[in-house]
Amino acid sequence: MSAEILISVEHISRYYGQLAAVDDVSFELAQGEVLGFLGPNGAGKSTCMKILTGNLAPSCGRIRICGIDLLDQPRQAKAQIGFLPEQPPLYRELTVDEYLLFCARLNRIRRSHIRPALDRVKQRCGLEAVGKRLINNLSKGYQQRVGIAQAIIHQPAIVVLDEPTVGLDPIQIREIRKLISELGEEHGVILSTHILPEVQMTCKRVQIINRGKLVFSDDIENLDRKMQIRSHRVSFRNPPDIGVLQAIEGIDEVEQLDERHFCLHHDEAARFIDALLEQALAEHWGLTELTPLHKTLEQIFVDITSREEDHDKEQAA
């Protein structure tokens, strides 16, 4: 990649006693990239985010932010990062304006630049109307936006967002995702989440972390390919014999779920659908349902991890 490297993480680990919350993780983030950090609960995402932003020290390893070592020169490195933790770090007794002013001063924005910076983030995060209100009285969605505003007020090179859409309603989620995509145009963004579609919608590159280890790191298209639908659920009023379904071209395997429901496994192209529909009409099966079955995140984990194990076994053999 030709763009400037913003973060380079080399072999970081973090132990809590015997437990390795983050285990030998390395990756890079380039300018203008949105990197999705995907993992089930307790996979080590938040720990990783905290290490990246200097909230936790890694037990070993090295992190460079825009070429500055985070452990040797924390102050210079931290000036390049904006962080929204899982729970937005708000002072609830302040108003939105007071809080953002405080954040601007904390990040050493020059006095003459503070006013424009405040106006800019408020406009970006849709906070113009609530500037004079107490943070405590805002809805969860607005509080989350204040949290994001806090992370981008000093126009950092890197924005790290830890589960930014948790607890929001669908409209707010959509707005925040749009905001994240916009941020990705100027800043490098790291987004941690356990929601798969969120990554698919906003990220260019995705890393999957499980039990502290990076198990997958690739462009989002490659993940999409891995996730292509390979099974459909069908139900009929007058179900045919299972053998008849099996005979349709393109269907690899039929699983009978109960009397009327079947699960059809097929290849990538899903060519069987036309044939199935024609036959169903001609023979009056009474098709009532045809649902593509998406893979869940858990299944992808299982896929990826089991594939790796197979790979390991092959190498060992």
């Binding site: 905290k50 102050r75 000036a79 899982e86 770090p89 405080f102 904390l106 050493r108």
Partner: protein
């Protein structure tokens, strides 16, 4: 940067009813004590006139007033310092400070100065009462200055200890009760000092007493070793707080 943090701390204090009620209650109690000792002084005045070298108003009214201030603040300061760090830790807003380009030293000093700023306001409000005596007569200005300095150093020491206790825990009430316990122990530690057999233990215990060092100020004596004691006390607990906060980042 430190002033930004201190300003926010002070602002948040005044945005809560706690600060206002503390100011009101302390002022009310001290005003009562002030007026009653003023009354005693006026009643005693004829007899005092007979004495050679009689103690003046400063020694009889103002010194006890600052003594009471010190005692009341020992109970009040833990309430003000308890939430400094523990509450931020509980609300997880500490990560805002950790992610900003700040050192731990700046964070701790900012918080310390914020709460000290509040205590200075409180002590100055209390000082308005003795200063009002200037309308009626003369005061021993040197004695008054020593009392003021001693009180400020004393509450600074209270605040440093309270800040450290707050950095140890996530529960503000735990911080408050531990601070109060530690302060009370330091207050009374020289009581045992007089009774302990050996001379050195006794003098060591009385040296540790936070009150003993205040006594010379309240007699109007400006003793540099007492000032050093308070400055050392404050620096010790500030350094410990910085270390404790840094430990959050390293291993928890």
């Amino acid at each position: 940067m430190i002033t930004t943090l201190a300003q926010r701390e002070l602002r948040s204090l005044f945005l809560s009813p706690l600060a206002w009620s503390v100011l009101a209650v302390v002022q009310f109690i001290l005003a009562y004590l002030f007026l009653s000792s003023l009354n005693d002084y006026i009643l005693l005045q004829p007899q005092l006139k007979m004495l050679d070298n009689a103690p003046g108003a400063t020694a009889l009214i103002i010194a006890p007033l600052y003594g009471s201030t010190a005692f009341i603040l020992m109970m009040v300061v833990p309430l003000l310092t308890m939430r400094l760090i523990s509450e931020e830790r509980r609300n997880q807003s500490l990560s805002l400070l950790f992610s900003a380009p700040l050192s731990m030293t700046e964070i701790i000093l900012g918080k310390f100065l914020g709460v000290v700023g509040f205590l200075v306001i409180m002590v100055l409000l209390v000082s308005l009462m003795p200063l009002s005596l200037l309308l009626a007569g003369q005061l021993d200005n040197g004695h008054l200055a020593a009392l003021l300095l001693g009180t400020l150093l004393l509450v600074g020491a209270f605040a440093a200890l309270g800040l450290f206790m707050s950095s140890l825990t996530e529960q503000p009430t735990v911080a408050a009760i531990s601070t109060f316990g530690a302060l009370l122990l330091l207050w009374i530690v020289d009581w045992a000092g007089n009774k302990v057999g050996s001379e050195t233990t006794g003098s060591l215990l009385s040296y540790l007493s936070i009150l003993r060092h205040f006594e010379s100020f309240s007699r109007g004596v400006f003793n540099s070793s007492d000032i050093v004691y308070y400055l050392l006390f404050i620096s010790l607990f500030i350094v410990l707080s910085i270390r404790r906060l840094d430990a959050d980042r390293l291993q928890n």
